[in-house]
């Protein structure tokens, strides 16, 4: 097909695609969702094309997306024409995309994988998902190693946090206006890691299927004894903290008075195995410095 292409534009053929293709013999896999992308990259199965590279870099960022991976555009409207042109062998798409992206089936075999845990804990869900993706990509050994590392880091985190066991923790990200936060409940991956590390999630309110909710700062008074752990987003978080500093409610929170407000680098709250490992490490590190649970 390529050879028959008639090329328009300025009458040259010099700009024909310079898409870096994966190594000979590798499956040409395409990822349509952030957590699949993370897992593929962690397994060393470099995806040929990725939906929404900028979003992946902003939210997940580790492992970094290869510079030569083709961006397919938004998660909801990946460029199918471009995808057909890339001739992939295998497509990993999220089950929530199934109704909208049914035409993917015309391009290559599609595996519709779930992106949120239903009836099982997020970590068990992540474990199953990694195994499935590894099976599809033929990278079972790498998956075992990754999972082993995650389990070990989690166990180690629990050990290190033994003195803090049962401690309530708010896990959140401050909105710029200093009035609201995006808070993560038990249905999110980070919420589950928190519990598995022996801590208690102080937020038990209603959240969406990914375990995220948007609440006002004033609701943090509901669990006064909690530690507040938040994801740092640079200047945006700095502005939020400046606004918060002007709030008497915020300043009166025991967590604030006792210096139990802890920032950590952003983790995608519903990321894959690498995110689990990173979060468990950061959690142990950030809480290790806090005096053991209140008397």
């Amino acid at each position: 097909m390529l050879s028959r292409r008639t090329v328009l534009a300025a009458g040259t053929a010099a700009f024909m695609p310079a898409v870096a293709l994966a190594r000979e013999g590798d499956l040409r896999i395409v990822s349509m969702d952030l957590s699949f992308t993370e897992m593929l990259l962690a397994l060393g199965a470099r995806p040929t094309a990725i939906a929404n590279v900028p979003l992946y870099q902003r939210l997940v960022s580790v492992p970094a997306a290869p510079a030569d991976a083709v961006d397919l555009g938004p998660l909801t409207e990946p460029n199918l024409e471009l995808l057909q042109y890339l001739k992939p062998d295998l497509i990993l798409a999220a089950s929530w995309q199934a109704s909208a992206l049914a035409p993917l089936e015309r391009i290559a075999p599609v595996h519709w994988l779930p992106t949120f845990a239903r009836g099982q804990g997020p970590l068990d869900f992540t474990r199953d998902l990694l195994a499935r993706i590894a099976g599809l990509a033929g990278r079972e050994a790498q998956a075992a190693a990754l999972q082993g590392e995650a389990d070990a880091v989690l166990a180690e985190a629990k050990e290190r946090l033994r003195a803090q066991a049962g401690r309530p923790v708010y896990l959140l990200r401050f909105a710029e206006d200093g009035r609201r936060t995006a808070i993560f409940g038990g249905a999110s991956m980070v919420g589950d890691v928190l519990v598995r590390a022996g801590l208690r999630n102080a937020f038990a309110g209603r959240a969406n299927i990914w375990g995220t909710a948007s609440i006002g700062i004033e609701r943090l008074v509901e669990a006064p004894e909690a530690v507040v752990i938040h994801f740092e987003r640079g200047a945006e978080t700095a502005r939020a903290m400046r606004r918060l500093a002007e709030s008497p409610i915020w300043n009166a929170l025991p967590a604030v008075r006792a210096g139990r407000v802890l920032g950590m680098p952003v983790i995608y709250p519903n990321g894959g195995t690498v995110s689990v490992t990173r979060f468990a490490r950061q959690l142990a590190a950030v809480l290790a410095g806090v005096p053991a649970a209140h008397g």
Binding site: L8, A9, P74, T76, S99, R179, R180, G205, G216
Partner: protein
Amino acid sequence: MLAAAMAAVAAALFWLALMDAVPPEQRWMALWSPLADDLRQLFVHYSLLPRLIVGLLSGAALGLAGALFQQVLRNPLAEPGTLGVFAGAKLALAATTLWAPGLFGYGFEAVAVLGGAASMALVMLLAWRQRFDPLALILAGLVVTIYLGGINAMLALFHQEALRDLFVWQAGSLNQNNWLAVRALLPPFVVAAGLAALLLRPLTVLALQDDVARAMGLSLSLTRLATLGLAVLLSALVVAHVGVVGFIGLAGPLLARLSGARRPGARLVWSAAFGALLLCVADQGLQALGPALDLPTGTMTSLIGAGLVLWMLPRLRAGHDPRPRPESGSARLGRPWLLILCALPVLALVIWVALSLARVPGGWHWSSPAELPSYLPWRGARMTGALAAGALFGLAGTLLQRLTGNAMASPELLGISSGAALGLIAVVFVSALPTTALTLAAATSGAFAVLALMLWLGRRSALSPEHVLLTGVALSTLVAALTATLLAIGDPRMIVVLNWMAGSTYRVTSEQALIAGATVASLLAASPLMARWLTILPLGEAASRAVGMPLAASRLAVLLATALATAAGTLIVGPLSFVGLMAPHAVRLLGFRQSLPQLVAAALLGAVLMVLADLAGRIVAFPWQIPAGLVATFLGGSYFIALMWRQR
């Protein structure tokens, strides 16, 4: 009486919240001088109480702003939302978040005020030529709101994640955790109220006709400008602190008028009072429902407000007969059909390019006829869909402009497309993974429900154009509020709806395209039957009656055809797009004056525009795609604004 009842409800709800928060003996202490280490008392003093007061202040500011707008523009429907102030402030805040977030270090006010003032100025500019005719002004406001809303939607598509926090509070969220918002809102409100009192006498005179006022030695433009500036300032300040709170500026003055406030002074005071009470009741009510229903307060007020407007529609007097507009533009065409014939090859060329041209990584690609079949699955249906939708909007726009005798009318403004959008939103809320058939059915029934509502509401006024268009205003504001809520929730399944609302042809199936095409064909076939009505309707009611035309029946027929065209087109490219406004207008400027050639030519031009918009959307941001409806909104909005500028 009403005011007292509302105040009682608000006070009772606040009392409930207070009882819930602290033990009885601590109430007064919690309210006025909380213990520094008692979190529950602090919560009462720094969250419950300021939220109550911010609600009262914002409501009063919006009510006062609405009353000022209405007084100076002599327009019962003027308020920050309908005049485009909200849309401008919102867009300014979103753009600043993305490209100059450092500016927020100085607070949100300046950005919101500048944005609101700019878009309000644009609206005034557009309505200038029609001497701020109330309907023209509201239409201009709606056009600007849709235009800026389109840009906002585009930013949302590309930066959904970065803008989510902004959308959360822009949906109208009154949460407080200190007294800063009160302290920031109170002084400007007091000053503004004082200025409004100073403006009272000139405003009273302004309520008279222009020449009377001028005869009394009043500087009309200065008074107008000062009042408008004041009202814009008040509304943008509210946006900067609590986000967009729809319809309070409309409902406050309305309730004031219904309760018998006649003189301008009384009207301003009572508008502010009712605005304050309304917002307060809505907000306290939401809080009483608890965290289970964590809807933004702005969504709540828009829901109430849209209902209120629809309810008051039959009570509004049926307005004046639209004046026949002096025809402008080039001379009347001698042989319109010949030009239409000549345009057909252009359409064919556009179709060919749209099917063959594409971008690939690093360059361009032109598909030869031999390889077209492999690309047709990706380009065929959306191209056909865009073609049909463009033609449908061209038809709908022509019908509507002829029906109302207003060159600014367009199908978006009819509310039919908003009805389709509401149907789709409802289905996504109810079903987790709706099927294509279900969404199609929901959108269609939404569109027809609006039509039915409109027919029922308009039955007494013989479907007067004002009523029909006001239904559109109410519904599109409601849709905008719901969209803001969807954005705030941030569920990816909602993005499917948002993409459709932005006018994406990505998901158009060949069946959908064929249905739309068949609708075009049948409407074109039926158009000769409507030709005579369409010639006479723009001349106004009196003229129509004079030639013995059945006014209600002919309006009903034209309206049905418009609704059908709008619904079918909206299903393909969403509720936005100014093709229905642009195509008929441009065609008339080209000299198509007779109704039948104008219909056909507008359909043709609409089709060409939409196919080009779809092609551009596919190519410009490759591999990302800009929805065709958004591209068309830009094209149409810019065309419209440029046109107004030139003819000013």
